[in-house]
Symmetry: C2
Subunit: 194 residues, 2 copies
DNA sequence: GTCTATATTGTGATAGAC
DNA sequence: GTCTATCACAATATAGAC
């Protein structure tokens, strides 16, 4: 399989379109024809860049995870303390959700995990691991500085926080109204930060 | 559209099978043929009971919401205080998830909300409203008794709790391991209960 | 790289016999 | 109520010309 860093500009455009489609319709909800129409080339041309759907989406998730890691690095550079970092993390999800109530790519694919090809499922798993690992480090740091409640283990708190954010997008979509990830994240943090 | 209380035994079996398929594969991920094979009758016979997919799933969600309300009533009968009620509520989700990592029907459909027919989207919205309303009453009661943190409004806390539970199923599925709704619910509550 | 054409399979849905 | 047969269409995917 190709690595996302060595693909052509047109393949990049394909990924851009497919990413939004995954966020809106899910893996089984979008087709090569949807992508082709939005990109402005024909269906077989999409197959030229990504022979199989499984590969297209796997590369898409790889790129998504990579960009997420870059954003996490950005947060580390902008905020020194755990509480600010966790708020900035929630803002990442909010930024996705405010654009037409788009879901996190891996939130959507996580829900569909049962019917996902192996390659894709593996990349989704990796995304969540990366996020929980990073959150665990931030939470543990906050606990050492007595800025975050030490009532629960860092890893447990980290995972619960991630679940609340992912869930807020699903629930927010299911109800026409409701709060977004920023609000739910703030609520969660208000019970955990000192 | 038919009401779920006045359908034949065979239609009930169809709903049973379709419900699990929705939880595993989502609305766009299952087909009338999948249902037919598992029920043991042919595809057109499914259409006889539910002419359109939209109707089948709408009735399915109606029944799901109804059963959920019955379970909520059961919790009120078994537990008097808010903390116990909230723990029992999380156990409801855990009960679903431990069966082959099944998702909440409306967690799955909420993620797919963008590509859902109107009838179905309406029923999903109703499910979430019912749950948040009930949770809000329980949380408010707990706050009055000083058993639940009054730092946040009852409704806000209720919605965050629901999000954490729905999210725990999505994330739990996306990672091969991870905690289930019971663990995540417990973590959330440990920060909120006195 | 892109296209037309096509293979193959699957989908929701209907007609009409039993 | 269930079936066989069939429709119209959409899906992933490939062959081969340009």
């Amino acid at each position: 399989m190709k690595h996302f860093s060595e693909i052509s500009p047109m393949a990049e455009r394909v990924l851009d379109v497919a990413e939004v489609l995954v966020q809106q319709q899910g893996y089984s909800g979008f087709s090569y024809d949807d992508v082709a129409r939005q990109v402005g080339i024909k269906k077989p041309s999409i197959h030229h860049h990504f022979p199989k759907k499984e590969e297209l989406v796997a590369v898409l998730v790889q790129r998504y995870t990579h960009r997420f890691r870059a954003a996490l690095l950005g947060i580390e550079g902008q905020h020194a303390k755990a509480p600010e970092r966790l708020i900035a993390y929630a803002a990442l999800f909010e930024g996705t959700f405010v654009k037409d109530r788009r879901l996190c790519v891996c939130g959507m694919l996580g829900a569909e995990a049962d019917s996902l090809p192996g390659l894709v499922a593996g990349e989704v798993e990796r995304f969540f691991k990366v996020n929980i690992d990073w959150l665990t480090l931030v939470v543990a740091d906050g606990q050492r500085a007595a800025l975050v409640s030490a009532q629960c283990a860092a890893e447990v708190l980290a995972e619960a926080f991630l679940c609340a954010l992912e869930g807020s997008m699903v629930v927010g979509r299911g109800m026409r109204s409701s709060r977004g990830p920023a609000d739910v994240g703030k609520t969660f943090l208000s019970t955990v930060l000192s």
